[in-house]
């Protein structure tokens, strides 16, 4: 082996470090899919809790559209959650301003945690805005479920070929130029479908025009880096069971530091280990035969 002297070693380390410095700055600057913030042409849906009358129609439309179990007789006082048989639920909350109905489903985040978590890219943020799940790629590891701050991907535990169920804003309908089933069918105009830019404009307009009616916050504009689903409410969002501890930075940003440090370690550590090996090797080269495992 070529003898590595200190100068060569330092030079090698310097060159590697410089390469990495260039490399990392590139990865953080580029890659628009992971840029946090508003991508203007993403589609989304605005849910206005002041308009929802609690008819549960969207639950039936969703079940019909995605061939899921039709909802049973709904007990209004029961707090239900989405699961592998229903992608959306509407729950009633008794608040300081009386009864308020809230629809719950996957938020379709701009920079989804599930998408960053998925090791087969089965969870995928489309350029239209939907976060879709792709059957043929998924290996059922459920890391998306561990990562999702809203606990929205749902798994079929009793299937031998389990699927992940969650709202994808009817991606198949959007591709045919149609609206998501729930937004199309809502009789009370509580669901408003459009680009995120339009939705934020519309939501702000409603808040400004009716300051007494609305709580001045759009849930989903910034939460978890922003999402395609956004909410308007007459009361603070804590009262409606929303998770208000959600951070405004996207969740994949939490692992970015770790992921970008992998390449440097993969390159630098072997060099350092080889250096230490040479430094601690007490015998002079050529004077002994290396012993192997014994």
């Amino acid at each position: 082996m070529k003898k590595i002297d200190r100068r060569f070693f330092l030079k090698a380390m310097g060159v590697t470090a410089a390469t990495l410095a260039v490399g990392t700055s590139k990865t953080t600057a580029g890659d628009p899919a992971h840029e946090v913030g508003d991508l203007p042409e993403l589609k989304g849906i605005l849910f206005d809790a002041t308009k929802c009358k609690g008819c549960y129609g969207c639950e039936y439309d969703c079940a019909w559209e995605h061939e899921l179990t039709e909802p049973d007789v709904i007990d209004e006082d029961e707090r239900r959650k989405t699961d592998h048989t229903r992608r959306t639920v509407v729950n009633k909350y008794n608040t300081s301003k009386g009864e308020v109905f809230v629809k719950t489903q996957c938020m379709n985040c701009n920079d989804p945690a599930c998408g960053a978590a998925c090791l087969t890219q089965a969870m995928h943020k489309t350029k239209e805005g939907s976060v879709i799940w792709r059957d043929e790629k998924c290996m059922g590891c459920r890391y998306c479920m561990v990562s999702c701050p809203f606990d929205m991907p749902k798994f079929e535990y009793h299937s031998t070929n389990p699927k992940i169920e969650k709202c994808d804003m009817c991606y198949h309908l959007q591709q045919q130029g149609e609206m998501p089933a729930c937004a199309y069918n809502c009789p009370n105009g509580a669901l408003y479908f459009g680009t995120r830019r339009e939705l934020i404009f519309e939501a702000n307009k409603r808040i400004v025009e009716n300051p007494d009616l609305y709580y001045p916050h759009i849930y989903g504009e910034h939460e978890a880096g922003g999402s395609s689903w956004m909410y308007l409410s007459p009361v603070p969002f804590e009262e409606l069971g929303f998770n208000t501890k959600i951070q405004n930075k996207s969740y994949p940003s939490l692992t970015k530091g770790f992921i970008s440090s992998i390449a440097p370690v993969d390159i630098l550590l072997p060099a350092a280990l080889l250096g230490i090996y040479e430094a601690t090797n007490k015998t002079k080269p050529g004077t002994y035969e290396k012993e192997e495992l014994s």
Binding site: H34, K81, D83, H84, A113, A116, A117, C118, L119, T120, Q121, A122, E136, K137, C138, M139, G140, C141, R142, Y143, M145, V146, S147, P149, D151, K154, F155, E156, Y157, H158, T160, N161, P162, N243, K245, I246, Q247, Y251, P252, L254, T255, F258, I259, I262, V265, D266, L269, P270, L273, L274, I276, Y277, T280, N281, K282, E289, E291, E292, L293, S294
Partner: protein, 410 residues
């Protein structure tokens, strides 16, 4: 376990026919009805039946996993904890091959074997937990690489590290098969395998911690912190070494007939040296825990049930074994080293289970408690691993000395 003391130590019934030799080696050696076999065989059979049910009726039919707690005992213990326990392999090869600490050479081979088997069987546990195990091929053949996924990086580093371990171990297989040329070639690859193995280990050990970084709101703040990857690496150093100490002490008793007299003298000196590695590693870990605790202003959480549980983990299973390791190093107390290593291992189990299960969704209405089937399958995997380990140790030169031709052939 297998007390085949009546068997000759150096089997030289290798005929020219390798195939015949392997067939002969496949036959059991030693007694069949040992206490270990009597316990493990029914467990393994039950476990295999449960696995069959799992593959025909879905994961939910044998586990208590839910939509809120998607990872249970099979991931939290078998994989997350198991990886830390297998950390001894990379620490020890670092000491022997990189730092050239010849003192520890006698235990390298058995540690590497243990590490390799641990990884092999924990990946089997992982496959059991996958909803669609066959689709794991997507990650390997690359028709859809999720390169932004921590799990993807962990998986690949995991896989490559298994190859590195196999390479590090392969000279022993060559010696067993009497393949002299292959042995020479394979042992030439050892240093490269060691260097890449250590690198891959550092990254997948930290990666297991990084898996939980996105579960920020779900893990109790006493356990969640941005430095989890670093904490996982540091704890894998003393966790892995504690496993080496414990496992070495057990196999020294069980496979006593394979060892020569020199080894017994060396062994205590090796344990003594390792106790210092653990003590220092645990000191660093404890110091980091305190820094994080202060930095995150976790004081308000301390006097609550979760806070007491946290103190139980840190004081009882980090501070206490650390002091025991220091004390036993100073007084050369070998049995205290063993006690400390057991406490340390329990601490690693506690820490990994806390992060992946107990402090995960800590405020959920319905807590996850594993079913008995989950425990049985976990035990099954461990028992099968021990069976394979025993099979290899009684046949290959792992604990005993390599055949004479290895040293004469240079």
């Amino acid at each position: 376990m297998n007390k085949a003391a009546s068997q000759p130590l150096y089997l030289d019934n290798r005929e020219n026919n390798t195939f015949k030799f392997i067939l002969n080696e496949l036959k059991p050696k030693g007694k069949i009805l040992t206490p270990f076999n009597i316990i493990s065989i029914p467990v393994i059979i039950t476990g295999l039946i449960i696995m069959y049910i799992r593959f025909t009726q879905g994961i939910g039919s044998v586990t208590n996993l839910s939509q809120e707690v998607p990872w249970g005992l099979w991931i939290g213990f078998d994989v997350v904890t198991g990886v830390a326990f297998a950390g001894g392999a990379y620490v020890l090869v670092f000491m022997v091959y990189i730092l050239n600490l010849e003192k520890y050479r006698p235990i390298v081979r058995v540690t590497v074997l243990n590490g390799f088997l641990a990884y092999l069987f924990y990946s089997a546990a992982l496959l059991l937990d996958l909803g669609r195990p066959l689709s794991i091929i997507n990650v390997i053949i690359g028709n859809s690489f999720g390169v932004s996924s921590v799990l993807f990086l962990v998986g690949w580093h995991f896989l490559l590290y298994m190859l590195a371990l196999l390479l590090e171990f392969s000279p022993a297989i060559a010696e067993w098969l009497n393949a002299r040329k292959a042995r020479k070639f394979l042992s030439g690859l050892t240093l490269a395998a060691v260097i890449f193995g250590i690198t891959l280990s550092a990254l997948h050990q930290s990666g297991v911690g990084a898996l939980f970084l996105m579960a920020k709101d779900k893990i109790h703040p006493l356990w969640y912190n941005a430095y989890m990857p670093l904490m996982f690496v540091v704890s894998s150093v003393f966790g892995g070494i504690s496993m080496v100490i414990l496992e070495g002490s057990i196999s020294r008793k069980v496979f006593d007939y394979q060892l020569d007299k020199d080894h017994h003298k060396q062994h205590n000196s090796i344990l003594h040296g390792l106790s210092k590695v653990c003590a220092v590693g645990m000191f660093v870990y404890l110091f980091m825990q305190i820094l994080i605790f202060v930095h995150q202003q976790n004081m308000p959480y301390l006097f609550s049930p979760m806070g007491y549980w946290f103190m139980f983990e840190i004081l009882g299973f980090v501070l206490l074994p650390m002091l025991l390791f220091f004390q036993s190093y100073r007084t050369y107390n070998i049995s205290m080293i063993k006690v400390a290593s057991v406490l340390t291992l329990l601490g690693i189990v506690l820490n990994r289970m806390n992060i992946s299960i107990i402090a995960f969704q800590y405020d959920a209405a319905v807590r996850y408690v594993p079913t008995w089937q989950e425990f049985v399958v976990t035990l099954t995997i461990i028992f099968i691993e021990i069976w394979v380990l025993r099979w290899i140790i009684t046949r290959m030169p792992i604990l005993r000395k390599s055949p004479d031709w290895v040293n004469n052939n240079h």
